[in-house]
Point group: C2
Chain length 594, copies 2
């Protein structure tokens, strides 16, 4: 089975040479702890852990899956030990509050490392992702008592956590949820209802699991404005330290296409004791902290799937001998040439390379904004970062998970028929990657969030700001390799948004009709901006003299490939957006088949 | 579990109202048997069989898979009975030679029905596809004795068949194959070697399996010109009718991403007795009869996957209630609207609809050419059809299987998170569909075949002929809805081929670099031609007056959607083709990762 090596050189390039992370960390409140040597050590130690401990468990986890017996979930062989190592290594506490046992490093670091966890072992990663989300939500909205009661245990990794939103009849449309919460005399609530698709709802990795559950109060308004959020522990900690059963049970686990080592649970709450987190009827807003963070984490998963497939298919393409190069034998001693000589295999490898590296850089920039929104000293900087984060999160989640699945499929395709065989692990990567465009809001939901809430709702001003930045960059760097190609895109992007807004005044369906094409268009432009910056950084390094000339030259070639072969996809998006909603909406519902 | 209903109305539209099958059959030698009523009866009877017998076995076959014990393969529950029904129904003999027990219907009919088999139960379909291919190859190249010995048993379905090409070290590059054939005193050959990826290499459906095996003679030239084809039965029929073990054994079956009910076998031949089919050292050319037919069959699989997903996601989108329509509640009595009201769900449904229906029509036209190449009375007509078939086969196989996978994924996406759960069957369709772009020559191989052998090698004349036909159509039908948009594409298509040819003179890698984009471009233009024709047929029917106005109006909307929302994808292809090979080929092999 093939190895996985965290792309440390590329991560360092993107952090330090494109996104300026050293200065960035220095400028944050408390950021001085994140000094470059420490960051390097953390990245390489964590990569070693993921490569040596997590990745070797991944194939078997897919074959073995989780087991469900009498309400108990057994995770795949090795997960329990690996989780114990993960906890011993202090990895859950990295970006957490030092007052509750955290290491106080900026949020971005946990996100960046999340790529590595997911590439190494996507199923395992899902037990760690929920944990981070719950810690962040508690830290942001928990009362001092609530934080005291739960946060330290979670930060230590001794307990795990979930978020419980979806019900059988509602996923996207949470306003329809039915789980009830009854106020109790002691100020707690009795929670009753059934939730589905709960990642890590039950498992054998930790002694307790803290569920964050959306439910309705008896007098709550209907719809999404009548939802509250509750902390509902599987085992309710008593004042004497006893963990008491709390009416929380797992009814079954789902049989899924992939991420089979991750337990996706049906959870029943039967008068379970919960305490309210945040304000009554404001649960969705509170949960959105968690949801937004989950979306950024899912975006990193897309990069992980793209990179994992890239690594596996690159190794295969170098070894597999089949046919001769069109330009004459490249391996004349051998019976045939390695397939990496063939242009179409190159096309698939280069596509994976530029989409994964470009998306990684995009997400590194996004993660910086998250840090700034949390830890900048000026309120103005925090607000600007928040605005940018809001704009870019749906693009990041929607685009990166779509290209993650695309790249996973290119990787499989490089293997030919062998890619379809389970033992190579590339088809597993395709199946694991497939979930990412669905959960945490489908691509369609991200696209509506982008064009509706993040662009049109503020009159396009956040987008305009970003485009202005890109245009200014193109002016400043007008002699750089790709600034000339990028500038018109920044103008086109704004004008597309305007024209969608204008048609929407006449027909509200125009927004939805254009939405996914607009999201993908936006993603391609964001990556073009990243590749233009990467090319400048690489040119500068080459000009200054470097002993890594091959690395930097490869960046220049990659940027060129991106602009020549991938960015043209925007042309189709534009034409399809301009076509509008008419033919999309014209068929009556019962005229689709006859 | 959802049902599958063969799209009989659309098949009839495409056959009779777009492709003119009635006249087509009437014009073939012996085509008078294929009279319209009989064809209708066959289609509906076969659809009933597939819907009632095959489809209900499909989900379980995926869960259960094939079992391998001590060299024996057990197919999933129900397959043996279903196969017996298939044989009793006379379905294997449909398009076969009446002199050997066949029903003498044109080849196209078997192909068209193949879509239905695949949609109903892809794994089962693979046991029938190999059978047809072997029968066709025997009929075309077998000596009278060989046909006498094997054909009737195969046509009856009493025996099954495989083709054995791939070996562990070679799939695409068959010139490297090592399986040996030693001439014996009685004129037979002793075949020794190992073959992999043999579909239906061993199973419990029939008493015997006839393998068509590629192997080398002792004095054969190296490479692809030293390969011969042999008939190697699992059990060798003796003059007294005894079936004698023949040194053919199954070493293992593959664990695959999908088509789990189809046994993909490692086959060992240990001095197995074979007889040569066709000429020595001409085995590849002989096998190409089989391979080309398999490619057309695989193209129909693409349509099947697209249609199956479309049916399932359409049913779901009509029932699943989530959110309100942007233009106001469509289901005010209910808690939410069915998701089919949302534009992005529409986009995915319409995309599936126009790609599956358009590809179906393209393949129906292709299948006509196959009939003509076999059964036209004039040699000139046969040759012209052969030329057209050669040109369109790689487009059909490459394009239809790619869109089959794309559409299967749109279907899954329509289900949101539920699509990832196995019980719905849409993720199975994605996994089953994934094989089709890999086997029978990957998309990359189809693309090279198209641009290299089928376009550039004949100086572009076959393509030019086809484009002329399209241009003439556009002139004749200039007042029709889409002729004006189609005409420039026919010109652009030719000129793209010319410009690839011109750059290839300077750099042979330019051909491969452009190949897949050129193939996909070609597919989109072919479908535009089909939709332009469909729109004309629909307009004519509406003008003439019909009680199926809804059906025909839906065709007009679909054509519009295709031209407005799908055809723009050609814009990206053109820019990427023009960009050429430079940045694709520039990286040295060891500069892809650092």
């Amino acid at each position: 089975m093939s190895e996985y090596k965290a792309p440390l050189r590329d991560i360092a390039f993107s952090m330090n040479e494109v996104c300026g992370y050293s200065e960035h960390y220095r400028d944050l409140i408390g950021g001085e702890v994140a000094e470059p040597d420490l960051i390097n050590t953390i990245c390489s130690e964590y990569s070693r852990f993921c490569g040596e401990v997590l990745h070797p468990l991944s194939r078997n986890a897919d074959e073995e899956g989780c087991k469900f017996t009498d309400g108990a979930v057994t995770t795949p062989t090795g997960f329990k030990d690996a989780y114990a190592h993960y906890v011993e290594g202090g990895w859950p506490s990295l970006s957490c509050d030092p007052e509750h046992g955290g290491q106080g490093l900026p949020s971005s670091l946990g996100l960046l490392l999340g790529e590595i966890t997911c590439a190494a072992n996507m199923s395992f990663a899902l037990y760690t992702g929920g944990l981070s989300g719950a810690i962040e939500t508690l830290a942001a909205f928990g009362s001092p008592e609530q934080r005291e009661a739960y946060e330290a245990k979670l930060i230590k990794g001794a307990w795990n956590a979930t978020m419980c939103l979806t019900e059988p009849h509602c996923g996207t449309d949470l306003g329809m949820l039915k789980t009830k919460s009854l106020p109790q005399a002691d100020g707690s609530f009795a929670i009753t209802g059934t939730k589905i698709f709960i990642t890590g709802g039950e498992h054998d990795l930790t002694e307790n699991i803290i569920h964050l559950v959306l439910a309705r109060l008896p007098d709550a308004p209907s719809g999404s404005k009548g939802i509250s959020l509750f902390i509902v522990p599987k085992l309710d900690p008593q004042p004497d330290g006893e963990l008491r059963a709390n009416g929380v049970s797992c009814g079954s686990i789902e049989h899924k296409m992939g991420i089979k080592g991750s337990a996706t649970c049906v959870m029943h709450f039967d008068g379970s004791r919960g305490i309210m987190l945040g304000q009554p009827n404001r649960g969705l807003a509170t949960m959105f902290k968690f949801i937004n963070a989950s979306r950024v984490r899912a975006a990193f998963q897309g990069v992980a799937h793209a990179d994992l497939g890239f690594q596996k298919s690159l190794a295969y393409a170098r070894e597999r001998l089949q046919m001769r190069a069109a330009s004459g034998p490249a391996n004349p001693e051998g019976p045939a040439d390695p397939i990496i000589v063939h242009p179409d295999v190159r096309r698939m490898l280069m596509t994976q390379k530029v989409l994964s590296e470009g998306s990684r850089a995009m997400l590194h920039c996004l993660a910086k904004q998250l840090d700034i929104s949390e830890l900048a000293s000026s309120a103005q900087a925090r607000e600007a970062a928040e605005r940018r984060l809001d704009l870019l999160t749906p693009i990041a989640k929607g685009f990166a998970t779509e290209i993650g699945f695309e790249c996973a499929n290119h990787a499989l395709q490089c293997f030919g028929g062998h890619g379809y065989i389970r033992e190579w692990g590339v088809e597993q990567n395709v199946r694991d990657a497939r979930i990412a465009t669905l959960y945490e809001g489908t691509t369609g939901i991200q696209a509506l969030d982008l064009i509706g809430r993040k662009v049109l709702a503020d009159g396009g001003s956040a987008l305009e700001e970003y485009c202005k930045e890109i245009e200014a960059f193109c002016v400043d760097e007008q002699d750089s390799p790709h600034a000339g190609e990028l500038a018109p895109l920044a103008r086109e992007w704004k004008s597309l948004a305007q024209s969608i807004g204008a048609t929407a005044l006449e027909d509200p369906d125009e927004v939805g009709a254009a939405s996914v094409q607009f999201l993908m268009y936006s993603g391609y432009v964001c990556l073009a901006y990243q590749w233009a910056q990467a090319a400048i950084a690489a040119s500068a390094a080459l000009k200054a003299g470097t002993n890594e000339a091959d690395f930097y030259s490869a960046k220049l070639v990659s940027a060129r490939f991106y602009f020549q072969h991938i960015l043209p996809r925007t042309r189709s998006c534009v034409v399809a957006i301009d076509a509008g909603a008419e033919s999309m909406m014209a068929l009556p519902e019962d005229h689709f088949v006859f």
